[in-house]
Symmetry: C2
Subunit: 207 residues, 2 copies
DNA sequence: CGGGAACTGGAGTGTCAACTCCAGAAAGTG
DNA sequence: CACTTTCTGGAGTTGACACTCCAGTTCCCG
């Protein structure tokens, strides 16, 4: 029946084990990269004693990686959406910017974007993972755009501002900022990019 | 004497072999990532018959990776500098933008930034590589800033425009755009980000 | 031309990672 | 309580990969 979205029957215990594996894999792959993370390390971190458990839930490492991609996409959106859905003013936009910058400091400017790092490593040679990531980024972009539209409907932004294009530009600047943060281990590039984008959005503000 | 910058005496033939190895490694690592590239593949691509050659020139794979980082940094700057050093007008800035977008199409939107992909994979666990990359990005940023300053001195930009910050923001937007291009396999995000940044720079244009 | 260094070739070696097999324990189902 | 399916444990197997050893060849240099 279902070929790729094969959802097997899981007991409560099975679900818990599977979740533990995905969570452990996500953490390790974020820290060390996908290729740098062995199944053995994942098992140890998930407190699972045998490889057969992993292969009971996932056909192979690629399948696990795809589960990790979904997991990280959900995590990011769970963090982003609350901040974005209430974009009703430039103060709120600024608060979002600050939260993003803050989050980087909280992790010592390491790791970059949980989705972006996976994307850089996978998009050229794992089509399924890439498709997942494209969908995830589309949701993220949509959330930003909805926020900007809310500002527009509140009358904070000109009616003719292209919120779709601004949202895409803002998300893109954010991605770049996260990469630069990881490389330089400081957030000045992230701040410069986001602030400049926000300045540009502000140029569409109503008087 | 020299500990890390150990430059051994090389004959013409030796130099050629070493260069072939670095070039082959750079290409493969760009296509498949560092971890996804085996020394064996590199040797084959460089038409070198034995691993002992590689280890004659490089202490280990990490040392080779660092040579690849230098190689790619030089390549990128060799492409960027000519475009940036003549930034004397908004037309030239636009031409730079078009060249960057064009370059992505030329490679089917794959691979991302030759420096950025290395950065994402290495910066969290190879301090030497990261240092090289930080230096490379600083040069790139400097080249952009010099271009903007040239525009400023020509009187195209306001004297009080913060060219340093704009240059950093522009470079960051570019990095984000390259990541997004690689994921989405199209350049609209790159275009949106660069165009929005350039619009913002234009807001500092003299009348 | 002779001696030493740079360079090359090929045949290993040890380790580690992905994945498999199978048998036994828990846990849903009638 | 039978009976099946899910889940777990541990002991393999296979292959790939980073790296080594050593012997032979080319090439610089006096």
């Amino acid at each position: 029946m279902s070929s790729s979205t094969e959802e097997r029957r899981l007991t409560a215990r099975g679900r818990a084990t599977r979740d533990r594996i995905v969570a452990a894999a996500a953490t390790l792959m974020y820290e060390r990269g996908v290729a740098g993370t062995s199944t053995e390390d994942i098992l140890k971190a998930a407190r699972v004693t045998s490889p057969s458990q992993l292969y009971h839930y996932f056909g192979d490492k690629r399948a696990l990686v795809q589960a990790v991609v979904r997991h990280q996409t959900e995590r990011v959106l769970r963090f982003q959406r609350p901040l974005l859905s209430r974009l009703d003013s430039f103060e709120a936009l600024q608060a979002w910017r600050d939260a993003v910058v803050q989050a980087q400091h909280a992790r010592d400017c390491r790791g970059g974007c949980p989705m972006g790092s996976l994307a850089a490593e996978l998009s050229d040679h794992d089509p399924e993972a890439r498709a997942q990531l494209v969908a995830g980024y589309a949701q993220w972009e949509g959330a930003i755009r909805d926020g900007l539209r809310a500002m527009q409907q509140r009358g904070e932004l000109d009616a003719d501002a292209d919120t779709g294009r601004l949202a895409l530009a803002l998300l893109t600047a954010l991605q770049g900022g996260l990469v630069m943060t990881q490389i330089r281990r400081d957030t000045t590039a992230l701040e410069a990019a986001l602030d400049t984008m926000i300045d540009q959005i502000r140029s569409h503000a109503t008087l």
